[in-house]
Amino acid sequence: MINPLTLQYLLFALILIVLVLSAVIIYLLRNEDYKSKEPGSKEKIIKKAEQASDTIIERAVTRAQQILSSAQLKRISFLSTEKQIGRQITDLYRRDIEKLEAELREQFEKNTLSADKTYQEFISSVEKKIQDSLDKNRKTIEEKASVFIDSAATSLTEFTSELEKNIKNQIESEMKKTRMEIEEYKTQREKIIDEKIIDILEEVFRKTIDKKLTLSDQSDFVYQALEEAKNSHAFR
């Protein structure tokens, strides 16, 4: 089967050839006329040539139209055939696509179900493992915590007991020390008060005796003191 585009090129080339041939014939006839130098024959020749060329051109045009019509028909037929083939290919292709799509969907659904199942199984497995691990850890922690709490309770009881004992001892010691300090302070204060009383009495005595004693009394005290000094050997 000839391509419609090729046919158009051929038709165009044929028309060109006809036109070139017509032009050549016209030229040859005119050139022959100049050579004859006869006025009547010249017109006859031109008229004859015109007629011949008209016939030739008419035939060529007719033939070209025939060829063109034939080419168009061929082209139409070709396009129709081609359109039909394309439709068939499209249908075939669509069917294949639909089939493939159905297959893919089915496969995808299968895979999805499988993956979902596998995932569910995996999740269940993981959950179980985590739960087992949690249970195990909780049990271990409970055991260790129990041991630790028992140990801590024992240590705390011992520590509290020891601390209580130490505090009691310290308080007793401090109380004893404080009591001693209070007693000492009391004694000191009493001593100071006694001293103060004696000092006050001495001051009262000094002030009152100074005014009350007569010269005779003073003289008696001087001689009494002189005797005391002599007896105590203070003059040596």
Partner: protein
């Protein structure tokens, strides 16, 4: 033993204080200067009566014997008197502090007590210290001895304490 060693005890016997002793040496020197260098023919007794000395000085210096006065000659009078003054100034004395100014008769009595109890050569210097209140205090060889009211107070302190304790005890019962 020098002449000063013999003469000074005679003078200290009749003097109670160092001031008395120095004053009486001065009176004695005046008499001896008059006798040896001014041709004074007065006896020592008459010189004392004519001089302006106190009755105490008159009474004390009248006790000096002629033998004592014969120890002084024209040649030794100045050197001997100078030696007596020098020794009197450096002689040890007891500083006696009394709480009040006593009358002269009491002072005389007190001075006699020292002469009688501590020896005739004892010299004293009497001063008044009202803080003593009663009794006396004295300083000898640079050491002070307090026999004032403080001494009596301390001496009776236990008795005083007992009185106070008894009083406080009764009050607390």
């Amino acid at each position: 033993m020098t002449d000063a060693d013999k003469i000074l005890p005679e003078l200290t016997k009749i003097s109670f204080t160092k001031t008395d002793l120095l004053r009486r040496i001065r009176i004695l020197r005046e008499y001896l200067e008059g006798k040896f260098f001014a041709g004074n023919k007065l006896t020592f007794g008459n010189f004392l009566k004519k001089s302006k000395c106190t009755q105490e000085d008159l009474r004390a210096l009248s006790k000096l014997s002629n033998k004592f006065l014969g120890s002084f000659t024209k040649s030794n009078v100045y050197s001997l008197v100078s030696e007596l003054v020098k020794r009197s100034e450096s002689a040890d004395s007891i500083h006696v502090y009394l709480p009040k100014q006593f009358p002269e008769r009491d002072i005389f009595k007190l001075e006699n007590w020292f002469k009688q109890n501590l020896g005739e050569s004892t010299l004293i210097e009497i001063e008044v210290d009202p803080n003593l209140v009663l009794g006396f205090s004295f300083a000898i060889n640079g050491v002070h001895h307090d026999f004032s009211y403080k001494y009596f107070w301390q001496k009776n302190r236990q008795d005083i304490n007992k009185i106070v304790d008894d009083y406080v005890g009764k009050k607390n019962q």
